[in-house]
């Protein structure tokens, strides 16, 4: 990616590019400082667009999943919210302006805005702990019981190592971890009796070439392949952010760290990192 466009860069920042494109962009900004500077500039505008509510729902979800899950990036969001409140159309919090002596005019809006933004950020995080992103959380484990009847309701990951009751199918949702700011691997203990681990693979469905055959392979981080097979495309747009799923025999996954590669027509789309911890 010798000369990435602003759109390419924005997609990279939102985690909407296949791994090969991400690597190409990274190669570019490692090689040329001006590319890195452009990425920071596009990022600033992305932050400001988010703060102003100009991102669409899908981009907002992607943005929040990354930028609110990482402390360094959250700090940038706070600054963006503050700057936003300096915009001419922004609503100024009257309670703050009435308390402060005006030392300067324009920046007073900034001062009020930053206070409000930071306070709102704290309050928002405390009130909505489960919706840092409106998209599904990066790691979601649910149990699908083998008997007839309704499937279990999805629930957030219970802990860093959720354990599900014994069942024939276990479902784990994965985000393209190498692109997203979730800060840690998805993981699940596989209880005895589990026949299949269904890995639901998140990403941008639009990057999947139409009609391409999807495949998945799983290797340990040391490079030993433990499984490969077909991946099933996500059905329509019913699950926002879901690209495909792969059903893996549970017996193939001993406790270890794994990398799953999702391909379309042999080309790498995304990689996912997950862990099966020791029992």
């Amino acid at each position: 990616m010798l000369d990435p466009s602003d759109a390419d860069i924005r997609r990279y920042l939102l985690g909407h590019v296949p791994e090969t494109d991400a690597e190409a962009l990274e190669e570019a900004y490692f090689a040329r400082a001006e590319v890195l500077e452009r990425i920071r500039a596009v990022e600033d505008d992305l932050l400001d667009d988010y703060a102003a509510g100009r991102l669409g729902p899908a981009d907002t979800a992607s943005f929040e999943a990354r930028y609110l899950a990482s402390k360094p990036l959250r700090q940038r969001v706070m600054a963006a919210r503050a700057l936003r409140l300096a915009a001419p159309t922004a609503v100024q919090p009257s309670r703050l302006t009435s308390r402060r002596v005006v030392r300067w005019t324009g920046p007073l809006a900034i001062a009020a805005g930053v206070a409000t933004a930071i306070a709102a950020s704290w309050l928002w995080q405390s009130r909505e702990p489960q919706s840092i992103a409106s998209a599904p959380p990066p790691s979601l484990v649910r149990v699908e019981r083998p008997t007839t009847g309704p499937t279990a309701s999805p629930s957030p990951a219970a802990s860093a190592s959720p354990s599900a009751p014994a069942t024939s199918r276990l479902v784990l949702a994965l985000s393209p971890t190498l692109l997203r700011g979730d800060g840690g691997p998805a993981q699940v203990r596989i209880p005895p009796g589990t026949a299949t681990l269904v890995l639901e693979l998140q990403g941008d469905p639009s990057v999947v070439p139409r009609g391409a055959r999807l495949g998945a392979s799983i290797e340990t981080v040391e490079g030993e392949r433990v499984w490969s097979g077909a991946a099933r495309p996500a059905a329509g747009a019913s699950r926002s952010g879901l690209v495909a799923s792969a059903s893996v025999p549970a017996e193939r996954l001993a406790p270890a760290d794994y990398l799953l590669t999702l391909t379309a027509g042999g080309e790498t789309l995304y990689r996912y990192f997950f862990r099966i911890p020791s029992r």
Partner: protein, 202 residues
């Protein structure tokens, strides 16, 4: 310009070898080193590492060590990028790199700790904004507040008025924004840690 070469006990010779590979003289080598470090910090930040600066320094230490061992490397930034990917995987495998599980974040318990008091926030805002020179404050407000098409036009007009390229203006605005962001974050953090804010220098 100070370089962190003491973290892995790297000796001066090994570190000098890294600088030699980055540039023909001390000044250009130093610039290349800083550019490489910025790229590494960006990489780790955008790939979601919790401690991008630490990971970047770890990568540079390993790079210096490898070069010191006599490994033949044609493309130093590319080689650094490869090391960075390994560092990133190791970072995620560390227990302290794991994110807080969703259900541990109960209402009333913010992810990042208790919110600062309103007085502390006001103090931080006044300090950080007041620490910027007037021209800098004006520049950052004008550069980042415009929206849509007017954003592009505003920035073009600003560059022309200042007699600089749009790239130079963009870089200056970014540096100011970084300062403001770090000042606010640092000041808020200091307010959390103690009842009175210390002096903050930008």
């Amino acid at each position: 310009m100070a370089y962190r070469s003491e973290r892995r006990g790297l000796n001066a010779d090994v570190f000098a070898r890294l600088l030699d590979r980055l540039g023909p003289d001390a000044e250009r080598a130093g610039e290349a080193y800083e550019a490489l470090r910025r790229a590494l910090v960006g990489f780790f930040t955008w790939r979601g590492a919790a401690t991008p600066e630490e990971c970047a320094d770890d990568t540079l230490d390993r790079l210096a060590a490898r070069l010191g061992e006599g490994v033949a490397v044609q493309d130093v930034p590319g080689f650094a990028r490869g090391i960075a990917r390994l560092v990133l995987l190791e970072h995620w495998r560390r227990p302290d790199a794991q994110r807080v599980a969703i259900d541990e974040r109960t209402p009333g318990r913010p992810v990042s700790g208790e919110p600062p008091s309103e007085e502390a926030l006001h103090g931080c805002l006044d300090r950080c904004l007041g620490a910027l020179p007037h021209d800098a404050r004006k520049l950052i407000l004008e550069y980042y507040v415009a929206e849509g098409r007017s954003r592009i036009d505003t920035r073009k007009r600003m560059a022309q008025a200042l007699g600089v390229s749009e790239t130079a203006l963009r870089n200056r605005a970014q540096r100011l924004r970084d300062r403001l962001e770090q000042c606010i974050s640092g000041c808020v953090g200091a307010a959390d840690a103690s009842p009175r804010n210390g002096d903050m220098d930008l």
